[in-house]
C-alpha cells in the first residue's frame, strides 16, 4: 500500500478525495486495479488511456449489460472510443459508489440509457434499454406488441409533458420515486 500511495502522490490523492465520492482506500484500490490493466510501457506514461476492451475485462463490468455505454459515457476521449484515463475511471467509480447522491446517479443513469446521446430518452432508446435488460437474442426479446405496450406504459408513467420522450427532469422525477435505484446503481471494486 505504501508504494501505491507514493505513486499517486499525497496531494493528488487528497484532491481526488475532495472531488469524488470515494475514500482513500477506494482510490488506492482503483489505482491498483487500473495500473494492472496497463501494459508495461504504458505504466511509465502519465495519463494513459486504456481502451474500452481492456477496461471491460474487469469482472465488475464484464457481465454488465450496459458495459459499453458505461465506458462511452465516462470516457473523455475525443475519438469516442470509450477509452478511459485513470480520472475517468475514478469518475465512473465515484458515480457508482455508495455515497454518491441520487442526483449524480440519476444523471449518469440517464446518460447511460440515452443510447443515441441526444439528450432525451425516446422510443428507440427505451426499446434498446428494454432489450439490454431482457437479453438481445431473438428468443429472449419481447414481442413487438409487448414492446409497444411496455413503452406506452413507460411513457404514460413518466412523460409528464406528453411530448413522447422522457427528458432528464422527468427521468429524475421517476427515479426519485424508485427507491431501489440508489442501492442497485452501484459498482464496488
Amino acid at each position: 500500500m505504501g508504494t501505491t500511495a507514493s505513486q499517486l502522490g499525497k496531494d493528488l490523492l487528497s484532491e481526488y478525495q475532495e472531488l469524488t465520492f470515494l475514500t482513500k482506500q477506494e482510490i488506492l484500490l482503483a489505482h491498483k486495479r487500473f495500473t494492472e490493466l496497463l501494459t508495461k510501457d504504458e505504466k511509465d506514461l502519465p495519463n494513459t488511456r486504456v481502451p474500452a476492451e481492456r477496461i471491460l475485462t474487469l469482472p465488475e463490468l464484464k457481465s454488465n449489460p450496459f458495459r459499453k455505454r458505461i465506458c462511452h459515457v465516462f470516457s473523455t476521449s475525443e475519438q469516442k472510443d470509450g477509452s478511459l484515463t485513470f480520472e475517468d475511471f475514478l469518475d465512473l467509480l465515484s458515480a457508482f459508489s455508495d455515497s454518491a447522491t441520487l442526483e449524480i446517479k440519476s444523471h449518469y443513469a440517464f446518460r447511460i440509457f440515452d443510447f443515441d446521446d441526444d439528450g432525451t430518452l425516446d422510443c428507440g432508446d427505451l426499446e434498446k434499454l428494454v432489450n439490454c435488460l431482457t437479453g438481445e437474442t431473438d428468443e429472449t426479446r419481447l414481442t413487438t406488441e409487448e414492446m409497444r405496450q411496455l413503452i406506452n406504459n413507460i411513457l404514460e408513467e413518466s412523460d409528464i409533458d406528453k411530448d413522447g420522450t422522457v427528458n432528464l427532469s422527468e427521468f429524475q422525477h421517476v427515479i426519485s420515486r424508485s427507491p431501489d435505484f440508489v442501492s442497485s446503481f452501484k459498482i464496488v471494486l
Binding site: S14, Y16, E18, L19, T23, K24, E60, K62, S63, N64, P65, S77, K80, E87, D88, S94, F96, E103, I104, H107, Y108, F110, D114, D117, D118, G119, T120, L133, T134, G135, T140, L142, E146, Q149, L150, N153, I154, E157, S158, D161, K162, D163, G164, T165, L168, S169, V174, I175, S176, R177, S178, P179, D180, F181, V182, S183, S184, K186, I187, V188
Partner: protein
C-alpha cells in the same frame, strides 16, 4: 418566491443585472463595439445588424434543440470534453474571470438570485446546463462547429462564470460538496475548483489577514482528518468482501438481509459495551468472585439452560449487588443499573426512530408504488451483479416480470363480481385459519408454562433432570416458530394475491402476529406467575430468556440446514418441478427481528444477554452465507428491496421494540423486585430508586435544582399534558402544510401537462404551416397576418402560458422563413441576428410568464402583457428588417411599427388592468416600454452601420436563450 419575483420587477437592477452579465460575458470581444455598454446592451444584441448569416441562423437552433427539436444541429460532444484542453480558450476564460471587478454590478447580479438554498439551486442549474450541453452537441458530423464555436464558447464561459461566482459565495464545506455533486468529469471539476480558488485568493489578497489564513489551514486539516476517519471506518467495515460477493450473485434484495443482520450486530455490540462497561465492570472490579453456593458446580448443561451455575454469576439480574461501591469514587450500583438500562432503551428508541423515519422518507413518501411500475422494474437493474450466470438469470426474471406486469394490467379489468367474491372468500378463510393457528399456539404455550410451573420448585440446585425439563418450553416455542411460518407460506401459495406486495404483507403480518402472541403469553406468564412464585424471580425470567435465545439460535441453524438444504435436495433430486429454493428474505428477517426482541426484553433481566446475541448473529452470518451460496438461487422477483427494508425496520420498532420497552417499563414500575437478590432488593418497585436518590440529593446543598426539576417536571402531570398538547398542535400544522404541498404538486403537474399539450398542438400547427409555406414566399406577409390575428385573440383569451409559447413559436417560425428566403437565393438578408434575438426575447418572455405563473398563481395578466410585448417587439423588428434590407431604409415603416407596437402594448395593458388591477403589471409594462422605445429609436442608426463583429451578438442571443432555458429548468425542478 413571491417576494423574489415582485422584487425583481420593481427592482430595475434585475433587468440591469441580466444585461450587465451578458454584456460582461462578451465584453472582452466587444471592446471595439462602439455601441456596447450601459442599459442598452440588450438592444444592441437584439438588433445589431451583422452579415454573418451562418452564425445567426444556426445559433438559435442550438438553444432550441432541447425543446424536442433534435437532430437538426450536429456538433460533436467532443467539443465539450476537449474544452479544458484548449489552451487559448482557457486563457481567455481565466482572463475574464480575474478581470471582473468584484464591484457593484457583480454583487447586484448575485443578490438578485434566489436567496434560498443556494447550493441546491445551483446544482439544479448546473445540472440543467450540463444536460443542455449534451443535447446541444449530439454526436455527428463536425461541419457546423465553425459557426457556433464562438457562441458556445461564450455561453459556456458565462455559465461557468456564474457557477464559479456561486461557488465562491459558499462556505468551504458547502463548496466542496457542491463541486463534488457536479455531473462532470474530474478534470472539469478540477478546472472549476482551481478557478474558484484562484478567484478566492485574488479576492482575499486585498483583505489578507493572518486569521483567514489560519482558519483556512485549520479547516483544511479538519477536512483531511474527516477523510482519514472515513477511510478508517471503511477499513474497519465488517465482511466487506463477503457482502460484495453476495450482492454480486444474489442482488440487493438478498443483500439487504445481510445488511440488516450486520446492523443488528452493531446494535448489539453497542448495547453490550454499554451494559458491560457501566454495570458489569464496576462490579467485577470491586467484587471479582461470584458468590456461588458451595454445592453448585458447572455441569455443562448450563450452556443450554442457563440455570444452575450461571444463576449466581453476573449473567443475570440476581448476580448484582445493591451496594454503593466504595473506591476512589462512589459508585451506586442501583442507580447505575437503572440509568444504564433506561438510557440504553432511550438511545435504542431514538436510533430506531431516526433510521425508520429516514428510510420512510426515502422509500415511501417519495415512492409512488402504483404509478411507475415499469420504470421501477427497469431502474432496479442491479449494477453490482457480476456473476455471469446471475446476470442471465436476472435478465430472464426481469423479462418474466415485465410480461407479467403487462398482462396484469390487461387482466385487472376482467375480474367479475363472482371472481372477486371467490377471492374474498379464500382470503377470509385463510386469515381465519392462520389466526386460529396463532391463537392455538398461544394457548398451548400458556398451558405448557402452567404445567411446567407446577413442577418447578424454588430450590437452590436442581437435579439434571429438573434442569433438562426447563428446556421443554423453549423447545416448543422455537419449534412453533419454525413450523407455523412454513404453513403460512403454504397458505400464501393458495391465495393468489393480485400483487406481490399484498402477498408479502399478508405473510409478514401473520408471522409477526404469531411471534408476538407467543411472546405476549410468555411475558404474561413471567409477570404474573413467576414474579410471585420465585424468590429471585428476575433471574428466573432471565434464564427463561436465555434458553429462548439459545434455542432460537439452534433452530435457526437447523432451519437453514434442513429448510434450505433439504428443499434444495428435494427440488433438484426428487421433485424437479419445485426447482432450487429461493432465499426467503422476509421469513429470515422476521426471525432476526424475533431474536432481537428477545434480547431487548432480556436486557433488564440479564444484562449480558447482548453478548450471546453478538455471538449468535456472528455465527448466523456465516451459516446463512454458506447456506445461501450452496442451496439457493437468486430471487425470481426483484425490486421492492428498499421498501421491504423500511418495513422491517418499522416492524423492529413497532411491535418489537415498543413491546419490549413496555414490558421492561411495566416491570420497573409495577412489580416488586425480589427481596433476596439483585440491585433493587428492598425497594417497592424499581423506579423508587430515583425517588430515593432525589431524597439523598435534597440533603446536599447546590443540587436543589435537580430536586426541583424532579418534583415539578418529571412528576407533574401538567408538564406532560402541555408537552403532548404542543406536539399535537405541531403535528396538525405540519399535516396542514403537507396537504397544501400536495395540492400544489397537483397544480404544478396539471400545468406541466397543459404545457405539454400546448407544445404538441403548436408543433403540429407549425408543421402544417411549414408545409404550405415554400410556395407562398411572396405572400408571406399577408399569410402571416391572419395567423397572428388569431393568435392574438387566443392570447387575449387568457391562457397566458400557451400564448407566450405561441409567440415563441411564431418568432421561431419567422426565423425559419427568413432562412428559407435566404436559402432560395434571394438577397442576402442580414437580419437573422435580430430575428433570432427577437425569438429569444420571446422565449424570455415566455419564461418569465411561466415563472410568475408558477410562483404567484395570480400574475397571469402581467405575464400575458409581457408576452404580448415580446411578440410585438419581435414583429416590429422583423418588419423593420424586412424593409431595411429588402428596400431602402424607410422611416415611415419604422414609425408605423412603433405605432403598432404601442397600440399592441396598450391593449395588453388594458387587459392586464382588467384582469388584475395591480401595480406589478403596469410597472413592468413601463420598464418594458422604456426599453422598447430605446430599442426602436436606436435601430435606424444601426441599420446603415457596417457589421462590427458577428459572433458577440450571436453569442449574446444564445446566452439569453440559455438564460431563459436555465430559468425554466430551475423553476421546473423547484416544482418538485
Amino acid at each position: 418566491m413571491t417576494s423574489y419575483s415582485n422584487g425583481a420587477f420593481f427592482n430595475p437592477a434585475y433587468h440591469d443585472s441580466e444585461t450587465l452579465e451578458i454584456d460582461r460575458s462578451s465584453g472582452k470581444t466587444h471592446h471595439t463595439n462602439p455601441y456596447a455598454g450601459g442599459d442598452r446592451a440588450v438592444a444592441h444584441y437584439s438588433t445589431g445588424p451583422t452579415s454573418s448569416d451562418d452564425v445567426a441562423g444556426r445559433v438559435p437552433w442550438g438553444g432550441w434543440q432541447e425543446e424536442s427539436w433534435k437532430g437538426r444541429e450536429s456538433i460533436p460532444m467532443g467539443l465539450m470534453s476537449t474544452r479544458p484542453g484548449s489552451p487559448s480558450w482557457q486563457h481567455d476564460l481565466n482572463h475574464s474571470t480575474f478581470q471582473i471587478p468584484p464591484g457593484s454590478q457583480y454583487d447586484r447580479s448575485t443578490s438578485v438570485r434566489l436567496p434560498s438554498a443556494p447550493s441546491g439551486n445551483m446544482t439544479m442549474r448546473w445540472r440543467g446546463m450540463a444536460m443542455r450541453r449534451m443535447s446541444m452537441f449530439p454526436n455527428g458530423n463536425p461541419t457546423h462547429i465553425a459557426f457556433t464555436e464562438d457562441a458556445i464558447r461564450n455561453e459556456m464561459e458565462n455559465e461557468e462564470q456564474n457557477l464559479v461566482k456561486e461557488l465562491v459565495a459558499l462556505s468551504t464545506r458547502d463548496r466542496i460538496l457542491a463541486i463534488r455533486d457536479l455531473p462532470m468529469s474530474v478534470d472539469e471539476k478540477k478546472h472549476i475548483r482551481s478557478q474558484v480558488l484562484a478567484f478566492k485568493s485574488s479576492k482575499q489578497s486585498r483583505q489578507f489577514t493572518c486569521f483567514a489564513d489560519c482558519s483556512e489551514n485549520v479547516s483544511l486539516s479538519f477536512r483531511r482528518c474527516g477523510y482519514s476517519l472515513r477511510s478508517a471506518r471503511q477499513t474497519l467495515e465488517l465482511w466487506q468482501g463477503i457482502m460484495k460477493e453476495i450482492g454480486g450473485t444474489f442482488g440487493t434484495s438478498v443483500l439487504s438481509y445481510f445488511v440488516f443482520l450486520k446492523w443488528l450486530l452493531m446494535f448489539n455490540i453497542f448495547s453490550f459495551l454499554v451494559n458491560f462497561g457501566f454495570i458489569t465492570i464496576p462490579l467485577l472490579v470491586f467484587d471479582p468472585s461470584p458468590n456461588i453456593p458451595p454445592n453448585v458446580s458447572f455441569r455443562g448443561l448450563e450452556i443450554l439452560t442457563g440455570a444452575g451455575y450461571f444463576q449466581y454469576t453476573v449473567m443475570y439480574y440476581g448476580g448484582y449487588s445493591n451496594e454503593t461501591l466504595r473506591g476512589p469514587v462512589e459508585y451506586n450500583m442501583q442507580l447505575a443499573y437503572f440509568f444504564t438500562i433506561a438510557i440504553y432503551m432511550v438511545l435504542c428508541g431514538i436510533a430506531l426512530i431516526f433510521s425508520m423515519a429516514s428510510s420512510f422518507k426515502k422509500n415511501y413518501v417519495l415512492a409512488d408504488p402504483s404509478s411507475n411500475k415499469a420504470w421501477q422494474l427497469l431502474s432496479s437493474w442491479d449494477f453490482s451483479i457480476t456473476n455471469e450466470r446471475a446476470v442471465r438469470q436476472r435478465k430472464n426474471n426481469l423479462r418474466v416480470q415485465l410480461k407479467e406486469s403487462l398482462s396484469e394490467k390487461a387482466q385487472r379489468e376482467l375480474l367479475t363480481l363472482s371472481e372477486k367474491l371467490k377471492h374474498f372468500g379464500v382470503y377470509l378463510g385463510f386469515w381465519l385459519l392462520s389466526t386460529s393457528l396463532t391463537v392455538g399456539c398461544g394457548a398451548s404455550i400458556y398451558y405448557l408454562c402452567q404445567y411446567e410451573q407446577q413442577r418447578a420448585t424454588d430450590a437452590a440446585n436442581w437435579s439434571l433432570l429438573q434442569e433438562a425439563k426447563t428446556l421443554l418450553v423453549p423447545f416448543v416455542v422455537s419449534l412453533m416458530n419454525l413450523v407455523v411460518p412454513l404453513f403460512y407460506s403454504l397458505f400464501n401459495k393458495f391465495e393468489h394475491y393480485s400483487s406481490q406486495r399484498r402477498q408479502i404483507y399478508a405473510l409478514v403480518v401473520r408471522n409477526v402476529l404469531l411471534k408476538m402472541s407467543i411472546l405476549a403469553v410468555l411475558c404474561y406468564y413471567w409477570m404474573n406467575v413467576v414474579a410471585k412464585k420465585f424468590s429471585c424471580w428476575e433471574s428466573m425470567v432471565g434464564q427463561a430468556l436465555y434458553r429462548l435465545v439459545i434455542f432460537d439460535f439452534l433452530f435457526l441453524m437447523l432451519g437453514s440446514f434442513f429448510g434450505e438444504f433439504l428443499s434444495n435436495v428435494i427440488g433438484t433430486r426428487l421433485i424437479p418441478r419445485l426447482g432450487v429454493p429461493e432465499f426467503d428474505v422476509a421469513r429470515n428477517v422476521l426471525e432476526l427481528i424475533y431474536a432481537q426482541t428477545l434480547a431487548w426484553i432480556g436486557i433488564y433481566f440479564s444484562p449480558l444477554l447482548p453478548a450471546i446475541q453478538i455471538f449468535k448473529l456472528f455465527i448466523l452470518f456465516y451459516i446463512k452465507k454458506v447456506s445461501l451460496t450452496r442451496n439457493c438461487q437468486p430471487p425470481r422477483r426483484s425490486g421492492r428491496a428498499a421498501q421491504m427494508q423500511t418495513i422491517f425496520i418499522a416492524l423492529l420498532f413497532f411491535p418489537c421494540f415498543v413491546g419490549a420497552l413496555s414490558m421492561v417499563a411495566y416491570t420497573a414500575w409495577r412489580l416488586t423486585p425480589s427481596e433476596q437478590c439483585g440491585p433493587f432488593r428492598g425497594l417497592n418497585n424499581t423506579f423508587n430508586v430515583v425517588g430515593v436518590w432525589i431524597d439523598d440529593l435534597g440533603g446536599i446543598p447546590g443540587s436543589q435544582w435537580v430536586v426541583w426539576i424532579y418534583e415539578n417536571v418529571i412528576r407533574s402531570e401538567i408538564f406532560y399534558f402541555l408537552i403532548s398538547l404542543i406536539i399535537i398542535v405541531i403535528i396538525y400544522i405540519f399535516w396542514q402544510v403537507t396537504q397544501g404541498r400536495k395540492q400544489l404538486i397537483g397544480l404544478l403537474r396539471q400545468q406541466i401537462v397543459n404545457e405539454g399539450k400546448d407544445k404538441s398542438f403548436l408543433l403540429d400547427k407549425l408543421q402544417s404551416l411549414q408545409k404550405c409555406q415554400p410556395d407562398k414566399k411572396s405572400k408571406q406577409k399577408t399569410q402571416k397576418k391572419p395567423t397572428k390575428r388569431r393568435l392574438d385573440e387566443h392570447s387575449l383569451g387568457g391562457q397566458s402560458n400557451s400564448n407566450a409559447m405561441v409567440q415563441a413559436l411564431l418568432a421561431r417560425q419567422q426565423l425559419e422563413e427568413e432562412e428559407e428566403r435566404r436559402d432560395t437565393g434571394g438577397m442576402p438578408v442580414p437580419s437573422d441576428i435580430s430575428t433570432s434575438s427577437a425569438l429569444i426575447q420571446a422565449m424570455l418572455a415566455r419564461q418569465r410568464a411561466y415563472d410568475q405563473d408558477v410562483d404567484e398563481h395570480l400574475s397571469s395578466s402581467s405575464a400575458l402583457s409581457q408576452s404580448v410585448q415580446a411578440r410585438q417587439r419581435a414583429e416590429g423588428q422583423e418588419r423593420d428588417e424586412y424593409y431595411s434590407t429588402g428596400f431602402s431604409e424607410n422611416p415611415i415603416n419604422t414609425s408605423s411599427a412603433v405605432a403598432q407596437a404601442m397600440q399592441d402594448r396598450q391593449r395588453a395593458e388594458e387587459d392586464g388592468a382588467d384582469d388584475l388591477p395591480s401595480s406589478v403589471s403596469s410597472v413592468m409594462m413601463q420598464v418594458m416600454q422604456a426599453r422598447q422605445i430605446a430599442e426602436e429609436e436606436d435601430r435606424p442608426q444601426w441599420v446603415p452601420a457596417p457589421t462590427q463583429n458577428p459572433s458577440p451578438a450571436g453569442s449574446s442571443a444564445l446566452i439569453q436563450a440559455m438564460l431563459a432555458r436555465q430559468q425554466a429548468q430551475n423553476e421546473y425542478d423547484d416544482g418538485y
